[in-house]
């Protein structure tokens, strides 16, 4: 239960961070659009908390705020980058879709769907050459799973025995297009097996399953020094981007993995705990708002 409580705390912080960022965006503090990770927190944190940067490196998609936090990136520096502030991770040069904190093991997020996946293969190659037990993880969605870059890298990783995890977060949506429509054979694990990848299936709604399966996958990659494919079912609780009117969805996913975990914990003061974490997240976002915009 202690493990689950820890997972809840981290996930609740990420959720609160995203929601307060959304408020900041509505107030005009964010230059562009932000893609929130609400619903995927448990899986992302369960996997990332087994990694340690810079030995291990993670790449992510446009939807990577939670993964960056899970890798230990400072929330104020992260929020500041998302708001284009001078004190951001890259002094406001990159922004929400191009977050980089390799010292923490968060190598990069990406503005091109699937573009981050080959880069993780490079981090895996470095880990292989360094022989210090490091691995690389690339998070991407079921939309990206149809990109050639992803297929090529799955094949390359097997051919070259790269210690990396392909972590697909399957929310059934590529922006506004369903996986059933877009995928010729939507069974991701079958695809992975076709490349000779060891594969793992994770119920992203079930905190215990997230912990157990991701531990198995990380242990496999570290011990066998081979790549693995992990598919997690997760909901996308917010739109493709914050503020989007998801007119293409007649009804939104209602199950929330974080709420279900909260119910499961039987913690007497779960709402007090959430409020405390929410205040920390709010403070981080407020601190970033007060920072100066990057000028030149």
């Amino acid at each position: 239960m202690a493990e689950l409580l820890e997972l809840y705390k981290k996930a609740a912080f990420v959720r609160a961070f995203e929601l307060h960022l959304a408020v900041a965006a509505d107030a005009g503090h964010v230059p562009g659009l932000i893609h929130l990770c609400c619903g995927a927190e448990l899986f992302e944190i369960a996997l990332c908390q087994q990694l340690k940067g810079p030995r291990d490196q993670v790449t992510g998609s446009h939807r990577s705020h939670g993964i960056a936090l899970a890798m230990g990136v400072d929330p104020v520096a992260l929020a500041a980058e998302i708001m284009g502030r001078e004190q951001g991770l890259a002094a406001g040069r990159g922004g929400t879709q191009h977050l980089m904190a390799p010292g923490k093991g968060f190598l990069t997020s990406n503005g091109i769907v699937g573009g981050q996946v080959p880069i993780a293969a490079g981090a895996a190659l470095t880990a292989k050459m360094m022989q210090a037990g490091g691995i690389a993880v690339s998070f991407f969605g079921d939309g990206a799973a149809n990109q050639g870059a992803v297929f090529e890298t799955m094949n390359l990783a097997v051919a070259l025995d790269l210690p990396m995890i392909f972590a697909v977060e399957n929310n059934g949506l590529g922006q506004s297009t369903s996986d059933g429509y877009a995928s010729g054979g939507a069974d991701m694990l079958a695809r992975a097996k076709g490349f000779g990848l060891k594969s793992f299936s994770v119920d992203g709604f079930d905190a215990e399953d997230c912990l157990k399966r991701t531990e198995e996958a990380v242990a496999f990659v570290r011990n066998e020094k081979k790549p693995a494919f992990v598919e997690a079912s997760v909901p996308r609780l917010t739109g493709h981007y914050h503020g989007e009117k998801s007119v293409y969805l007649a009804h939104h996913e209602t199950r929330d993995p974080l709420e279900e975990l909260a119910g499961h914990l039987q913690h007497e003061d779960i709402s007090v705990l959430y409020k405390k974490l929410e205040k920390q997240a709010h403070d981080a976002v407020l601190s970033a708002i007060k920072l100066e915009e990057a000028q030149q």
């Binding site: 390799p102 080959p118 880069i119 293969a121 360094m130 690389a136 090529e152």
Partner: protein
Amino acid sequence: MSENATSEKLTIVAALNRAHHQLMHEDPSIMVIGEDIVGGAGLDGEELGGVFGVTAGLADAFGRSRVIDTPISETAFVGMGLGAAMTGLKPIVEIMFCDFMGVCFDQIMNQTAKARYLSGGNLDIPLVIRTTMGAGDGSAAMHSQSLHGLLAGIPGLVVVCPTSPADAAGILKAAINCPDPVVLMEHKGLYAVAEECDPLLPKVKIGEGRLVHEGSDLTIVATGQMLHRSATAVELLSARGITADVIDPRTIVPLDEQLIFESVAKTRRLLVIDEGPEFAGFADMVITAVSSKAFHALKSAPQKLTPPQTPVPYGRTLEAAWLPGVEDIVNKVDEMLYDS
């Protein structure tokens, strides 16, 4: 050339090959990655050493863990090279022909070119992408392009086009320690060019052009095999008393504008000869730089000589006609000097 060194005649292939051996020997973080660079992976014959022989003997000397043959998956292995460069290795990634950049352009244009900037300058990208360019060997439309101008338009990339053995090897050595990713474009038609070299093959500074020939009537800026053709044309012209400065920019980005401006200030005429496209190519960039920053020096309109704006044709006669030749250069110079 350094003192006391006995010079040695080397081709561009041999100089590049030796530079690879020297670099990999000195720095264990240097990796060489590409298609068929060792060759014969999974087969029982002899190794290939790369399609042009540039990577010959590297696997024997340094092992297949550092000299990696890849599947035919440019997107995956260029991205892998980038990720490796972001995490502590110094990869030299070979794209067999620059035409193949078409299949991995995201990893070049969006990922490699932008990574250092997007890190806020916190991360160096010691990645070298070696590739070939150029027409003249019957390889036709998809194995013969000169894409240096296209790459030059992408902020974040350093682009170099060496034309001599010493420059090819020396620029490779500078490139591997450059904080920005470098695209090293080797002209296929020049691989056999041989010159006396310092056998140590010292570094050549990126961003410095080279005055290959001195004269007074006009300035010729030429890249790749066009530089060699220009040198031949200038020999012919000198017999008629016409002399020219011939500049090999060596580096496309960052361009040594100063060298070009100084020459134009002296000759007051500019001719750019390039194998890239007629429209929006490297020749246009040089003309724009001179016209906007050194206009007062010009006595007549700056000119360019490039192939026509079509894909590279296949048939021998067609391809020869498509490429600017020595006679075309001589005629162009005459036209500039006597029609103006």
